[in-house]
């Protein structure tokens, strides 16, 4: 597998996940990746600038002119109207980006940390511990994630929560759902890496288990992580919104959360009030769409069979399965004459 084409070492810039992927992409694939990156960028910038973008606070009910009023249709002061609880819809959608970002960051960091560690230990040492962990991970993986998140949020916060407690509860609930995914991927990679020659030679020169695990195995098992990261980030938003929609969200006075707002908008819809549900919902779709577009593009660019045709044949030697979405094993169809581009080396092992 360790197949290096030429001796050129790519600069750090070209080896960064997103940059190298972008350089590989062609045609529609590049378009989808660009679109996803732009949307994700807008989302992150909005979250960072929320205090300046939002005209009102997320829990603000009144200003100098008195109460905002309930279910006010969009007007010049409240451009997206107000909710049934009397909050400004636009402000809550903007503030909601902050909640979403914090939950994603906490959830994904926690699950990467736990999942990677467990997967590494389980895959490297094997034995009965490995078997038990695989069965447990599979059991959790097959469990409907929303239900697991509900159970977890009951455990963590008794179902109701406030401020950072709420964000943390949501994040930990989501983490438990994600750990098996990281665990499986990292474990599979570790098992594969363990039999590689460079691990054997490290053993021969007497490297410690910890050193082999973190220095030799882990660094070579990480390449699918950016992909799972993006897939999980979008799932985290959906799970958070789902929890909020079922009434396990974060209190409106603690933070703005889109799922909670949609829950409150449920009865508005029947009476034809559209602004309370349309905007928070559209925000969820927009953000998940952006992140998923990036993830999809990463998956395809990492898989020579799905990558845009122009670059398919360039480096099709012994290829490992890098696609998270499994496909039928088949050699790539080469339609066009191969055009070698540098980026193809980005994912062959070095």
């Amino acid at each position: 597998m360790a197949r290096t084409i030429g001796n050129r070492k790519l600069s750090l810039w070209d080896r960064l996940p997103l940059i190298s992927h972008f350089r590989q992409s062609v045609g529609w694939q590049r378009g989808m990746l660009t679109g996803g990156l732009v949307i994700t960028g807008i989302f992150l910038v909005t979250a960072a600038l929320a205090p300046w973008l939002a005209p009102f606070g997320f829990a603000q009910l009144r200003d100098a002119n008195g109460l905002f009023g309930s279910q006010v249709p969009p007007n010049s002061k409240h451009i997206w109207g107000t909710t049934v609880g009397g909050y400004d819809v636009f402000s809550r959608v903007i503030w909601g980006t902050q909640t979403a970002v914090s939950v994603i960051v906490v959830a994904v960091l926690l699950s990467i940390f736990a999942g990677v560690l467990l997967g590494l230990v389980s895959g490297y040492f094997g034995g009965w511990l490995d078997r038990i962990m695989v069965v447990v991970a599979d059991a959790i993986y097959a469990f409907p994630s929303l239900l697991l998140a509900i159970v977890m949020s009951i455990v963590i916060s008794g179902g109701q929560s406030s401020l950072w407690g709420g964000i943390l509860a949501a994040a930990i609930s989501i983490t438990v759902v994600f750990i098996p995914q990281y665990f499986r991927v990292i474990r599979a990679e570790t098992v594969r890496m363990k039999s590689e020659a460079f691990v054997e030679s490290a053993k021969v020169i007497g490297a410690s288990n910890a050193r082999i695990m973190f220095r030799h195995v882990l660094r070579n098992s990480m390449r699918t992580l950016p992909l799972i990261f993006t897939l999980n980030a979008s799932e985290a938003i959906l799970t958070l919104a789902g929890l909020g929609f079922l009434g396990f969200g974060i209190e409106p006075t603690a933070a703005a959360e889109w799922g909670y707002d949609l829950n409150k908008a449920l009865s508005d819809v029947t009476s034809g009030i559209w602004w309370t549900s349309l905007f928070p919902g559209a925000a969820i779709v927009f953000v998940v769409l952006g992140i998923t577009l990036v993830g999809e593009s990463l998956n395809e660019l990492g898989d020579p069979r799905l990558r845009g045709r122009k670059s398919v044949e360039a480096a099709s030697g012994a290829m490992t399965e890098t696609s998270v979405i499994q496909t039928v094993t088949a050699p790539a169809h080469s339609g066009d004459p191969a055009i070698e581009i540098d980026g193809n080396q980005g994912w062959s092992d070095r």
Binding site: V135, V151, W274
Partner: protein, 364 residues
Amino acid sequence: MTADTVVAGRPSPGVGTAKKKDKKESGLLRYLVVRFLLIIPTIFILVTMVFILMRTTGDPITAALGGRLSADQLAERVAAAGYDRPLFVQYLEYLGNIIRGDFGTTISDNRAVSQVLLTYGAATLELAFYALIVAFIVGIPLGMIAAYYRDKGQDASLRVMAILFYATPVFFAGLLMKLIFSVWLGWLPTNGRASTRSDLLLQALPDKVGIYVIDALRLGNPQVIGDVLVHAILPAITLGLLTAGIFLRLVRANVIGTLSLDYVESARSRGVSEFRLVRKHAYRPALIPIITVIGLQIALLLGGAVLTETTFEWKGLGFQLVQYLQARDFVAVQGIVILLAIIVAITNFVVDIIAALIDPRVRY
């Protein structure tokens, strides 16, 4: 959980292990047995996990009635229900009860959980079934079209559509459809499984199944049949499109994969049209991984059902689960969650068996 059940590991979808046994029929039988033994530890782990997690918050009676009763009354009821005994004893008892099909009694409305599961499970089953039909009708043809137009405009827009299906939370999709088709256009009903009149007629039916279409057909009243179907349209589409997006992606990726296999190439060289290649040659083997994936989708489908049912007040397990959650009735919640987990485990088992029957590579 003996070692030999575990060694078999999880049968990976699509690609079987390299180890090929020539013993044909016995290989299949062995696979069936091993796969069946594997769901027992799975269910056991799930039950244990849910039990332990739910009990870390305290006993269900205090959780449900905490503020409403005096400390003495509370202690009396806790003792009466046996929640003051050691947790391990309670756990063993709970396991034993589950094996006998007894999931306990709900605290908020004092019904047998197993009865709740039977009554509302039928509604969820019905919804999930409709949703799967929608997902097949929408997802598979569109996936084939996307593969046919690979890397062209049609492909790109179909794929963005698939991502949109996935990116839209089911409850938001439901709210939007309700707004458009029920409130603005007035074509379809907003809530429920049937109108009040049909509901009464259906409830009056002796030995009802709970699946409204079947009951309505047995009732033989065309108005009721129509009413039940009309109520199912929006929830089915809402939940179905979520899964359709996933099917679309999968069919596309797999058809593209099979389109470059040798036998397809040879058909192509014989001058078979590209359309026919997709339609006849590449499409069938591409469906095998999809069967496996459906098993995994059941978990997503049930999770989605919880949200869809809440959106449309479809009185199934998910809707009921939320009601019990709000009442803090954790005995009922625990029962519903465990039942859903068992359903997922068994579905995965059945799907794996079907996949093994179709594709000999899965067995070993």
